[in-house]
């Protein structure tokens, strides 16, 4: 069983709208061994991957795939399902898969949804090994394979905060492009784009971020504007720390000035010894050390997005009750870590308590006179973490005055998205009356605690971030014009780009004779491909994109955009063959070109050649309007009432609601292929370029 070729289809393709991996699989002799003929195969496979039972396949209900397995199916199809299942088990959601035979016996095209090319490639390899092991009755470590993939998913896929924003954007029809292997993502296209990087946006000010990192400065600014903060100061020695503590009044908090995640922070210190020990702990973090008033209450995280409070979470202290015979570390396992919400990694709202690695917990134990090995007397309550994970949703409870205060705090620092850490006994009461205070403002706050709270409702923070970047009706899209067909695409692309430029747009053009920005050639190489299309859409100046796609591009890479405003198919004749892709007939070519029409937006337009019956037949696949163009002046009868561009007596006629307007007389069009001009006129008309401007543009071109 051999992978002849793996094609990463990075955009909409002949199979689906989403990126997939297309594998050309040669199963060789196994063509004669469907699954029902392999003894023990079904049992081994279902034992290793019991969740395959969920795959609906074919009959459209649970167990569908298992039925096919029992009845007999071929390795390509099985490989598809195993790959999908491995991806799902590894935490990379994938539903779509398809397997088709080709004209060559034993050679299949297996297609699986791929959110990350590297992970899917690995999953395919693991799936192949797993399937062969099951066929040949060899052992296979499923858990280890899943773990390997899981690790890849964690390191290669978007982090949960970024993913939730991207998902929210997708939900609103806003396209996205990942710009780096990290979490830098572009939402929207061209000039309408915004960028995000975890929970930072391109509106996040670098200066504000710097201010938020300088706790002392943030506190000064907040205090000046009347926001309650714990008063305190920077100290330079243990002795100085104690002096500051006496000035401020006990109890105090000692912490590093630019630490994070609570490292080196000690709270409610009452004695000189405690303060001095805490100083050393904080000092080890490497930055300056701050001593400040201890604010009584729970730690809260309030998330401000675009000036508004979007979510709030509370931290709770973690303690246990001794039984008089177990050690503290044993009790931690029995009473705390046993909680099913606790675990490693981002899948769990609460993390495990690991005493030997948790300096703060050790410090807390020490204050109570214990170590991890102590056995406290029965019934004694032992505090383990003063503030455990801040993961209990309290969004609904926040007092409006508290919300106003944290919103002001974010404004003072200058952050569009801020995680405000606040200590208060009761978040449903104003801060003033309880001595609550804001202790820290964070740029790029984690969103996980609001997405997966340990209790309470998850908050739609991704939606809020997207809403702060894109107004309600803004999908972040620029007009994208996709051009497909067998010939005449490049001159059409140039002509259309020129018309759009005349309409005042900064045009990005990717076609087979190069990549152009505002008429300037940026690349001389063939740019009718996925990479060039992405470049156009990534360019922050581009206000309209004209993108040429060859049949080979659609087959080997997929389209460079998810949806388009205008999709043009020029023609299929004269026939071309793509035997290398097992595409041999005009109908098959048409099916490839259909991809271009499938992605036309609901408010978009397909521009189709009425004179090519196969092309004209694509009209039915378009979600939006169809404008036909016709060099012989005829239209499909069903289309009489709609828009069309016709060549009549050598002149160009715009037809709408059975009204015809002559745009251009015979003379001016002579030097052009009539199809090219008609298609360009139709597309420009579809984009709202006025007939007068189209006419002027054609004359000037």
């Amino acid at each position: 069983m051999e992978f002849l070729k793996i094609l990463p289809l990075r955009g909409p393709n002949i199979w689906t709208y989403r990126p997939v991996l297309e594998v050309w699989l040669d199963i060789g002799a196994l063509e004669d061994s469907p699954s029902n003929t392999l003894p023990g195969f079904y049992e081994r496979l279902t034992a290793w991957l019991p969740t395959l039972a969920e795959h609906r396949c074919g009959i459209g209900e649970r167990g569908g795939f298992l039925l096919r397995l029992r009845e007999g199916t071929w390795p390509g199809h099985i490989l598809e399902h195993i790959t999908i299942e491995l991806q799902n088990l590894a935490g990379m959601q994938s539903g779509f898969g398809k397997t088709r035979s080709t004209s060559v016996r034993g050679v299949y095209k297996v297609v699986v949804r791929s959110r990350n090319e590297t992970v899917t490639r690995a999953a395919l390899q693991e799936a192949r090994e797993l399937m062969l092991a099951a066929m040949q009755d060899r052992p296979f470590e499923v858990a280890a394979a899943v773990a390997r993939l899981h690790e890849m998913v964690d390191s290669l896929c978007l982090g949960p905060s970024t993913a939730c924003i991207v998902d929210a954007a997708t939900g609103r029809g806003i396209p996205s492009i990942r710009l780096s292997e990290g979490n830098l993502v572009q939402l929207g296209y061209g000039a309408r784009q915004h960028r995000i990087w975890t929970a930072e946006t391109d509106q996040t000010s670098a200066i504000a971020e710097g201010i938020s990192r300088d706790k002392d400065l943030s506190k000064t600014l907040l205090q000046a504007c009347g926001v309650p903060v714990p008063e305190g100061r920077i100290v330079d020695s243990a002795a100085d720390a104690w002096e500051a503590a006496e000035d401020i009044g006990l109890p105090v908090v000692v912490k590093p000035s630019d630490g994070n995640h609570g490292r080196g922070v000690s709270t409610e210190l009452m004695t000189r010894a405690e303060v001095e020990a805490a100083y050393k702990l904080a000092d080890e973090e490497g930055s300056e050390v701050i001593v400040e008033r201890f604010v009584r209450g729970d730690e809260h995280r309030l998330l401000v997005i675009g000036g508004r409070l979007a979510a709030a979470a509370r931290g709770e202290s973690v303690s246990l009750v001794a039984d008089g015979c177990s050690s503290v570390s044993k009790l931690v396992e029995e009473q705390i870590n046993i909680d099913p919400r606790r675990g490693y990694g981002e899948g769990y709202p609460l993390s495990l308590v690991e005493l030997d690695e948790d300096a703060a917990a050790q410090f807390e134990l020490g204050r109570q006179g214990y170590t991890a090995d102590s056995i406290p007397a029965v019934g004694v309550s032992v505090l383990i973490q003063r503030t455990g994970n801040v993961a209990f949703d309290v969004t609904e409870r926040v007092h409006p005055e508290v919300a106003a205060t944290v919103e002001l705090a974010a404004r003072i620092v200058g952050l569009d998205i801020a995680g405000v850490d606040l200590v208060a006994e009761d978040i449903s009461r104003p801060l003033g009356e309880q001595g609550g205070a804001i202790v820290e403002i964070n740029a790029g706050p984690g969103l996980l605690m609001h997405l997966k709270p340990a209790s309470g409702n998850a908050q739609p923070v991704g939606d809020a971030i997207v809403a702060s970047l894109f107004a309600e009706t803004d999908s972040g899209r620029i007009p994208v014009i996709g051009i497909a067909g067998t010939h005449g695409k490049t001159p059409l692309a140039h002509l259309l780009a020129a018309l759009l430029k005349l309409a005042g747009k900064y045009v990005g053009l990717a076609c087979s004779d190069g990549l152009y920005f505002a008429g300037r050639q940026a690349d001389k190489r063939d740019s009718a491909n996925w990479v060039a299309a992405q470049k156009v859409l990534m360019n922050r100046s581009v206000e309209a994109a004209v993108i040429e796609n060859s049949v080979a591009t659609i087959l080997s890479e997929g389209l460079g955009y998810d949806r388009c405003q205008v999709g043009i198919v020029t023609n299929i004749e004269p026939p071309q063959h793509f035997g290398a892709y097992y595409i041999e007939t005009a109908e098959q070519v048409c099916n490839v070109l259909r991809t271009q029409i499938d992605v036309v937006l609901a408010d978009g337009v397909a521009v189709l050649n009425a004179c090519d019956p196969l092309v004209a037949g694509l009209a039915g696949y378009c979600d939006g309007e169809v404008i036909f163009f016709s060099v012989d002046g005829t239209l499909p009868t069903a289309h009489q009432a709609k828009r069309a561009v016709l060549l009549r007596d050598g002149g160009i006629v715009l037809r709408q609601d059975e009204q015809e307007t002559l745009l251009f007389g015979r003379v001016a069009c002579q030097s052009w292929q009539p199809e090219t001009v008609l298609a360009a006129v139709a597309a420009a008309w579809a984009l709202g370029v006025s007939p007068a401007l189209i006419k002027a543009g054609l004359a000037a071109y």
């Binding site: 990087w197 930072e200 000010s205 971020e209 400065l217 504007c225 002001l408 404004r411 200058g414 100046s541």
Partner: protein, 863 residues
Amino acid sequence: MEVSRLRALRGPNLWSQHTAIEAIVSCSAAEQDIAKISGFEARLRARFPAMGLLQPPGYASAVSMAHTLGVAALGLQAQADCPVTFNRTTATSESGVYQVVIEYSEEAVGRLAFKLARALCVAAVEDTAFDVADALAQLRELDEEVRLGPSTGAIVQAAVQRGIPYCRLTTGSLVQFGWGSRQRRIQAAETDRSSAIGEAIAQDKELTKRLLEAAGVSVPVGRPVADVADAWAAMCEIAAAVVVKPLDGNQGKGVTVNVVTREHLEIAYAAAIEFGSQVLVERFMPGSDFRMLVVGDKLVAAARREPPQVIGDGVRSVRELVEQVNADPRRGDGHATSLTRMRLDSIALARLQAQGYTADSIPVKGCHVVLRNNANLSTGGTATDVTDDVHPDLAASAVAAAQMVGLDVCGVDVVCDTVLLPLAEQGGGVVEVNAAPGLRMHLQPSYGKGREVGEAIVSMMFAGKDDGRIPLVAVAGTNGKTTTVRLIAHLLGCRGLHVGMTNSDGVYIQGKRIDSGDCSGPKSARNVLLHPDVDAAVFETARGGVLREGLAFDRCNVAVVTNLGRGDHLGLNYISTVEDLSVVKRVVVQNVRPDGVAVLNAADPMSAAMADACPGSVTFFAQDRHHPVLAAHCAQGRRAVYVEDGHIVASKKKIVQRIPLSQIPLTRNGTIGFQIENAMAAIAAAWALKVDWKTLRGGLASFVNDAETAPGRFNFFDYRGAAVIADYGHNPDAMLALIPAIESIPAHKRLVVISGAGDRRDEDIRQQTEMLGEVFDEVILYQDQCQRGRQDGEVLALLRQGLAKAGRANKIDEITGEFLAIDTALSRLQAGDLCLILIDQVDEALAHIAQRLTEANDTRATP
């Protein structure tokens, strides 16, 4: 010579608009005329030859040591290149005591200069040594350390030119421009709109390159490498000379260019990995290094940068050649000069070795010997301005690069042969983009024209004539400030502005108190100007803050001086007459914008006299429309506010508006004279700020003045049918204003409860009871909680003295404790009586009165 007090005046002040050190210096008899100290001036000048003249030629009056100190402190700063010119020494009312005022551009430098000047004077008196070179070096070093760096400094300077106010938020380069809701921030050459993501992208050279390539900007191909072997592989892929550099490095550290052999690659790799986690190998682009500065969507400056190098003469060694170059006076050690000295450090020696030299080699004549790879000014490189040569296509590439990365201020590093051609035509490319680029090479290039890049950044941040200011009203005067401030703030609030207000009760933002206590000083005002929500600011500007620190702002739109009367707090801080006081209160008027307005009380001679000091126009107010000052002003067709037929009238040439007093509840139907004056002042201020009259009338009608909103400002209560008025008045003018208001309220018996604030002059304390004794039947004197420096019973004695001549008062009691005094007064009241309580601890006393009122109402409710 004794220095008893040193203050930093951080804003416009009594003396000038400059920031200055103010010292109180006492001189002995001898020191009051230095001519009497034999040889002193000669010794002084021997030690500090650049010392300025002590008095104009031809004058021979006595020059004091204090005066000498001032001239020396200014001279030292000036010699250390600080831009300062102002100093002034004046004798105080105390013999031998002087106020010495010396301008500074940096407070720390000013303080040090003062200290050094003192040491200089002492050395000249005692004929001991004084190392003036060392003193100047200390000042220069401190100045360079504390003042803004060249990039930030240039932007700030450009902002100042545009009239945009600024303040430093840290000792570093973080600066706020503008005020309140109009504020913007910069940090070095970075604005508050410089995106954190853009900055992060610029840090990641690989990502930057990918994005630039996508934008069609020419970049050197290449990739990050895993190790030396991979570096070699990458070099083979590129198949040309390469550059080896750290992936996330800066300032050109660890960069090796034009690497062509495997041996050189290995050395270069080792050098690069020291400064970054990963190493980048990319195609070496021959040509010169250029830095393009993009601001917004424009290229504003371009410079060719050359690494530090010497040219052989066939005679001298590299070391000698470097020394020769460094002898150029334009080369200094820091950022202050246009060039920095070259260093023959280990990096330079290594670079020499790579070229086959040591420091002692003698290069042949005409041979260029490069000392390091990067062209930074700070390591001895040079910059030549080429802004005017840049080809439009090349400029467009630089702008495209900046926009693709997403930086509003961006340094684009380009390597190409010439900027006269587009990049594509010469195989050049963008090698790096930098956030917060250094501006020095464009401001003060080593060769060629300096460019106004600070101005470009400021213009991007503040469009057109925007100066980042919000309307600012400063209110000074002896009495009525707080009510006037509150009313102006209320009127501006009615116009829909978010108003920040400071007064002696606290700091208020949109009516919400964010700080309490006496907040009429510059610190509170600065906090308001810092607040991101504030659209307009109204500041009570008390004398204390003006004396202590100067104003919190450079200029105001409106300055109001309610009145000076006979003054208050006289005798403190060398302010002993009301004329002295008027100089202090006048500071706000002197700092009105040229298009601003001073609102002055025509009926108060001191206030009226300030008109001449106002750079803007003047609106006079007075109840009497026939008051000569006001009448003359009206006759000239200028703005005036006065009372006529039960209306407040605003007039300019003809009557503009008439507002019935009956519709201004603050005036209690026109019965409280001082509130009419406060209302007039506020109307004039709102008029100056173009508040429309409809809003203004509505605001006057809706303004509430009770114990809740204006504690201690003529708070009126009904206690068992008797009128009780609580007020914080505590000076003769306050009494003068209160008495007619009280007299206008009919009553059987009149009581007053009063203490005296110990920090007033004896005569002022006496005067208060003198006046009250004429109109009240019973007086209850109580001893203040805080005696403010007085002996026990001293204030009471003074108050009693004032009552000695009283015509009306027939019953006088002395009580210890404010609450007891209040209770005593209340217990004596019958329906129809009137009681004025001059409260001291405002909040506590009002709470106490409120408590008694509740009790009274409760007993009434339960028969």
